[in-house]
């Protein structure tokens, strides 16, 4: 496996606060990495920096060999559009667009909207029959699945999920993790920020942040990609 993402001595400083403090980290292509840590440990800051939504104060961020740390806002926009798929805890679907239109929105900014392809993406997350529904007509789990379909529609090099199951019940949590497992099987690189140990445990590797630093990391020896506390149907 080759390295897709590498952080070298990355810091994010707000005044006297070091939200990230000389973090070093690597993510291999096709890897499923979980990032854990208590509140204020720097998880979200790291997510924003990896996701090209924010800039690091110091250090290098190599994405597919290219240092994106010093890129302009416009260049970062292009990187988000072309290389990254984002999944949010609060879903962030456009309320006045249907499920399929929300998926096509990502295509619209990336290249050309293709309704057939967007419907196929929704079919992959089991929502083809809900394609014409608005977010307000979908359950939380369904909204998150639309969010997953939107994240994967442009075949990004890496999918970043920030607390993807934070607003879901156990049944929907299982469905979303199962989707991640399938994506991983297909070779997608996944970085999942979570405070939920059960979600982190299904990843291949887990990094734990504390006070802006990598506290420790662990590799899951029994990696199956399947969540343990629930029985998959």
């Amino acid at each position: 496996m080759s390295t897709l993402l590498e952080l070298k001595n990355v810091s994010k400083i707000y005044g006297d606060l070091h939200a990230l403090d000389h973090v070093n980290m690597k993510v291999e292509k096709g890897e499923w990495l979980a990032i854990m840590g208590p509140s204020g440990s720097g998880k979200s800051t790291m997510m924003n920096i990896i996701g090209a939504l924010d800039k690091a104060s110091e250090g290098e961020i190599l994405l597919d060999g290219e240092d994106i740390a010093k890129k302009s806002a416009k260049a970062l926009t292009n990187i988000r559009r072309d290389k990254i798929g984002l999944i949010f805890q609060q879903f962030h679907l456009v309320s006045y667009l249907t499920a399929v239109e929300n998926v096509m929105l990502a295509q619209y900014y990336h290249s050309v909207p293709d309704e057939k392809e967007a419907l196929e993406a929704l079919e992959r997350v089991g929502l083809k029959d809900r394609a014409r529904h608005y977010p307000s007509q979908l359950s939380g789990g369904e909204q998150q699945r639309v969010c997953v379909a939107r994240a994967l529609i442009n075949y990004p090099e890496i999918i970043l999920a920030d607390e993807p199951t934070g607003n879901l019940d156990e049944a929907n949590e299982e469905i979303v993790v199962e989707l991640f497992r399938k994506l991983h099987e297909e070779g997608t690189t996944l970085v999942v920020v979570t405070h939920n140990p059960e979600v982190a445990e299904v990843a291949q590797r887990t990094i734990v942040l504390r006070n802006g630093k990598v506290d420790h990391e662990s590799i899951n020896p029994d990696f199956t990609g399947k969540i343990k506390h629930i029985t998959l149907q």
């Binding site: 096509m104 929105l105 900014y109 050309v112």
Partner: protein, 380 residues
């Protein structure tokens, strides 16, 4: 689906599925466009309306004879210079000194219908002469000879070439009305042209012709110049106290309407800008999401501007229709006459409305591009 179709789909979805907010924005634009279009209609139509009103103040052009008199044909030739729809009234006058009870009195012969149209402010106690045997007398004349409606008077005329032994010409006429104008007209008696010819025994033409024309002063001056240039017997002049008053009042009224129009336009812009600012503020998360998905600043501007411009066009269309209705209501209530539809005002209102909305949207939309996706998507 291509990008343009998706763009249109996003804009229409945003406008149609977020109705409550958009209806407020649309109302702001439509009301502004209505007043704007209505005021422009009034601005354009007011001169026409007021000119018609001003015609009640009497003739605004006089044709005088350069020599001694001019003929009916000379008047017709002069009228050919003026567009027919602008001619309100034409009254040629022939003046002679006649006698009543051996006292000299000025007699005016004219076309009664023409005089009625060109001098609508004349107040007649009784009625205008309807036949050649009838006469209208000025108030001063009536007072002098104690004449009343229905009285018979004998009017005599002595031709210039009459010999000492010749008798004066004489006609008996019935007084049908007493003319009260408060001016020199009260010193005259008024008879038909045919009766004057019978009394004097000759068709001597006219001394002066009063004309009431509903035109701008510049056009009137042009007509007067052409009539004077084209004819060797006519000298056309404007009645300046009338034409200048008209021009002054019209100018001030139009300036007032223009000022109100500009103020309304500015208020509309402020209103639209405020509404669009509210729209942008409540959609900060959506903007953040779009930016997170890779939307460029240009895309964000295009999308919000597209919504603004569609609102501007629809608001402009509504405004043009309602504006005509508004102007019509004002015209009917103030001038008691209808306004003619100006079809070009529909696209013009839409274009102005789109431009005003576009300008009003610039600042709030610009601020949309400053949204930091990392902050707003975290709910900060």
């Amino acid at each position: 689906m291509n990008k343009r179709k998706m763009y249109i789909r996003m804009i229409t979805a945003s406008l149609l599925r977020r109705r409550s907010r958009m209806v407020i924005a649309l109302l702001a634009i439509a009301i502004g466009a209505t007043i704007l279009s209505g005021l422009v209609t009034i601005y354009i139509d007011v001169p026409r309306q007021l000119r018609a009103q001003f015609r009640s103040y009497g003739a605004n052009m006089l044709l005088a004879a350069t020599e001694r008199t001019f003929t009916k044909e000379d008047v017709d030739k002069a009228l050919a210079v003026i567009p027919g729809e602008e001619i309100v009234g034409v009254a040629p006058y022939r003046y002679e000194t006649v006698r009543i009870n051996d006292r000299p009195i000025l007699a005016a012969a004219t076309d009664m219908e023409g005089a009625k149209a060109s001098s609508p402010f004349w107040k007649v106690d009784g009625s205008w002469p309807a036949s050649d045997e009838e006469v209208m007398v000025g108030k001063n004349v009536a007072d002098t000879f104690r004449l009343f409606e229905g009285d018979r008077i004998s009017v005599t005329y002595r031709p210039e070439d009459a010999g000492e032994e010749d008798l004066d010409n004489s006609v008996d006429l019935t007084v049908t009305g007493i003319l009260d104008t408060g001016g020199k007209e009260e010193d005259y008696i008024y008879m038909t042209i045919a009766m004057m010819e019978e009394l004097t025994g000759e068709d001597r033409g006219f001394n002066v012709c009063e004309m009431s024309i509903a035109s701008e002063q510049s056009d009137l001056s042009g007509y007067a110049d052409r009539i004077s240039a084209d004819s060797s017997v006519l000298d056309a002049k404007l009645v300046k106290r009338v034409t200048q008053s008209e021009t002054t009042v019209l100018g001030k009224l139009q300036a007032l309407v223009l000022l109100v129009t500009i103020i309304v336009m500015l208020l509309t812009m402020i209103c639209v800008a405020t509404t669009m600012t509210a729209v942008v503020t409540e959609r900060r998360k959506e903007i953040g999401l779009r930016k997170a998905l890779g939307a460029s600043d240009r895309s964000i501007i295009n999308e919000f501007m597209g919504e603004g411009l569609v609102l501007g066009a629809v608001g402009g269309l509504l405004g043009a229709v309602l504006g005509f209705w508004f102007a019509q209501a004002v015209s009917m209530n103030v001038f008691n006459s209808s306004i003619s539809l100006m079809p070009w005002l529909l696209p013009a209102t839409m274009v102005v409305s789109v431009l005003v909305t576009g300008i009003a949207c610039l600042i709030p939309i610009r601020s949309a591009t400053d949204v930091d996706p990392a902050l707003v998507l975290k709910g900060e």
